[in-house]
Point group: C2
Chain length 231, copies 2
């Protein structure tokens, strides 16, 4: 492990071979990180779950689950791993090396979980909690239960309802391609805001979410303009 | 909490109101156990996951996941909860009381997870680990990765393969009922053992698993008979 990474984790391993395992992808060979990833995934869920329980004392269980899922998903893990510069530390097989495995989201996310698992195995739960706090503290601090982990359609609907506006209408405007590779185009219409946006995807559901995402962004811009215009 | 339960958990709460919450079903009213169950589920997965990691140093990640899922599922949790006599301690609303909620598997399982969560919130990870060890130690000690959590068809196939016998044949022998409420009857045939068993269920898959379960039990009896006969 490089000195900068060690400093960022803020943890000194008694058994450094555990960290080496955590940073070894299965394509590299034996003693790879999958078992430590199993441990790390559980530790991360526990630490983040407990942190959310303490930080949001009135949040129901379903919302705690939703927010945690968004915080510990592959994309968030990989983002944290990139910031730590983890990619350059991971041992990969030749095929993965050549195909850019050092920056692959799944490889980065798995390795970071494995690092958490290695700290837990080496130093116990509180050591793992400190390292997770060091890596994840700002992600946790910014977590907003009102929107985090909600899909674009839900977010848009709640945004409209909070302003007492009617729910949007979703209309399939085109389907293209053969039956096994169809593409859908959906329009999201909000007449009250004179707004219509388009989304595309391989299913109606995906296209609707894309259209809702675009509508949400537009609606937020309109609202910001109103605030500026209205002073 | 009753004295016997306290003795079995081996833990004295600093904030007993946490245990009261853990033993309060949502049908009873506010301050129910769902948030603590969220915490407890994560703690249990972490403790059991780490214990399996240590105990089975050569077990791949996929098998660790399978074994853990079988150990922390609702049925196992409820079995442990019944042994602890937890049912009598749970506060329920009137409807649940009248309909036998004290012995309902889901209510027992959720309450036990919530108790683990309450210990974690009250006393930290190591306290929760001790309580889980006390409640779950024998379940963990008996865990057999070779079979635990595998479905009956997989178990039967592996049992036959270990004896170099051909895989069974599954044949749908009857379907009854209307389209929306069909019942399937499947025969599991193992000619090499002169064995045929029947299973029923609401889908072909369910019926096959039931037939395999019966075949596995029969095959084990036959094998035991062989061993006794052969001396």
């Amino acid at each position: 492990m490089s000195a900068p990474l060690r400093a960022q984790l803020g943890y000194a391993f008694r058994r450094p071979e555990l960290l080496t395992s955590a940073l070894t992808h299965r394509s590299f060979g034996a003693a790879h990180n999958e078992r430590l990833e199993f441990v790390g995934d559980a530790v991360l869920n526990c630490v983040v779950g407990a942190a959310l329980y303490e930080r949001f004392p009135a949040l129901p269980e379903g919302d705690l689950s939703r927010v945690r899922a968004a915080l510990v998903n592959q994309d968030t893990l990989a983002r944290v791993a990139r910031r730590l510069g983890l990619g350059g530390e991971i041992r990969l097989g030749e095929g993965e090396l050549k195909s850019g495995g050092h920056d692959r989201t799944s490889i980065l996310a798995d390795a970071l979980e494995a690092v958490f698992g290695a700290v837990f195995v080496d130093g116990g739960f509180e050591a793992a909690r400190s390292v997770i706090d060091a890596c994840y503290g700002d992600v946790l601090a910014q977590a907003d239960p009102a929107s985090l982990g909600k899909d674009p359609k839900t977010r848009l609907q709640e945004w409209l309802q909070a302003r007492r506006l009617p729910v949007p209408e979703y209309v399939v405007t085109a389907t293209t391609g053969d039956a096994h590779a169809q593409q859908f185009e959906v329009e999201c219409r909000i007449p009250a805001l004179s707004l219509a946006t388009t989304g595309r995807g391989s299913s109606r559901r995906v296209a609707e979410q894309a259209a809702a995402e675009a509508a949400g962004a537009q609606a937020a811009l309109l609202a910001a303009g109103d605030r500026r215009g209205g002073g």
